[in-house]
Symmetry: C2
């Protein structure tokens, strides 16, 4: 059995098998995939004249985040023993790499598994529903965006909160692992969902506010 | 040091002090308090002719759940060592009693503490905001109700999910503790928030749907 690279060093991982994809290869494939999805969405949506530039950027967010939830986090949720994989499975190796930033993925911490399962199979399809609603101007667009964004935000707050309470012991202290993987990659899902919650809160409030004078008018008529 | 009553029996709780309030006294005071808050809200809101019976029941829910979050769960979030209290503090003894249904409260499991802190200080005041919005027919009523209800629901799903993954080892197997405290008391926050999410989703969708013909009409005019 090979020695694992995770922190705290005392963790025991029976059957650990070292990753075969290198860190630059994993980050490279991930970055290119995100670039293709975001670029492709921006390009393909340019024909829809009803969508503003902000709408198209938001659409790209929902498709990218939905794919990350369903494919990457989904692979984690259904593969409990990714760290034992001996072949060069890209998704398993991605999780072997990410676990350097948070070993709770490898040790299958019960909160991580619960939160990732909900994220993969509720917020994943939910993200595609929001994307569809945005593209088709469905009346439930902002209700769906509010729900999925809060799900992402709350899961992430609990993610950081549990790590804080446990003393941040689960990360390799290296800059890339702590600040790059653990802080930065997760901070994205604090910032963007917060902005989208603000957007939907305002849109919903404005919709109800604009209905009120209409009601008053119809009563007077 | 007294022996604690919690499961699994192997838990070590330094400085545990037995509860002084009896189980019937704790459940009695809690039930009377809920009855007074719900009954009082229904009574006081009867003068508001704009509120339907369902609105008034929903208002009572938000005030009761807000008080439970802020007072009861808030007392847990700020008192890490409730199980060491030697005097007859009602809230500390309530948590000593509830811990029989889930010992993770006494052992300060990092997920429980994170989730209860957010529940007490975000969903608690948030519940009062929803109550205020409902009573005043504020345009953000359904946005707020959607957010706070999903916060309650998701926290509760993770609550059950983590316990399932850990094999339900944290509860006294007695009927009252497992089904009464652990299952029933938490199931309430699965059922009611789900219903209110459905209500707000429909209301928001209807609001946006009714705005669309208005837009079309204004363009034609």
């Amino acid at each position: 059995m090979a020695a694992h690279p995770y922190y705290p060093r005392s963790i025991v991982l029976a059957g650990f098998s070292p990753q075969l994809w290198s860190m630059p290869a994993i980050l490279g494939v991930f970055s290119v995939a995100v670039f293709v999805v975001v670029g492709g969405t921006l390009l393909l949506s340019s024909g829809n004249k009803r969508l503003t530039a902000l709408d198209r950027a938001t659409l790209a967010w929902w498709i990218a985040t939905g794919l990350i939830h369903l494919v990457i986090e989904g692979s984690y949720a259904i593969a409990p023993t990714f760290y034992q994989t001996t072949s060069a499975n890209f998704l398993h190796d991605l999780w072997k790499e990410y676990s350097k930033g948070d070993s709770r993925y490898a040790t299958r911490d019960s909160f991580i598994v619960s939160m990732e399962t909900v994220t993969a199979f509720a917020w994943g399809p939910g993200s595609f529903l929001v994307a569809y609603a945005l593209a088709t101007d469905a009346p439930y667009r902002h209700a769906a965006q509010l729900l999925v964004s809060l799900g992402q935000l709350y899961g992430d707050v609990l993610y950081f909160g549990t790590c804080y309470l446990e003393g941040f012991v689960h990360s390799d202290p290296g800059w890339l692992y702590f600040y790059g993987y653990f802080v930065f990659m997760n901070a994205i899902w604090i910032v963007v969902p917060s902005l989208l919650i603000g957007q939907s809160w305002q849109a919903i409030s404005a919709a109800f506010a604009s209905l009120k004078p209409a009601k008053v008018r119809s009563k007077r008529a």
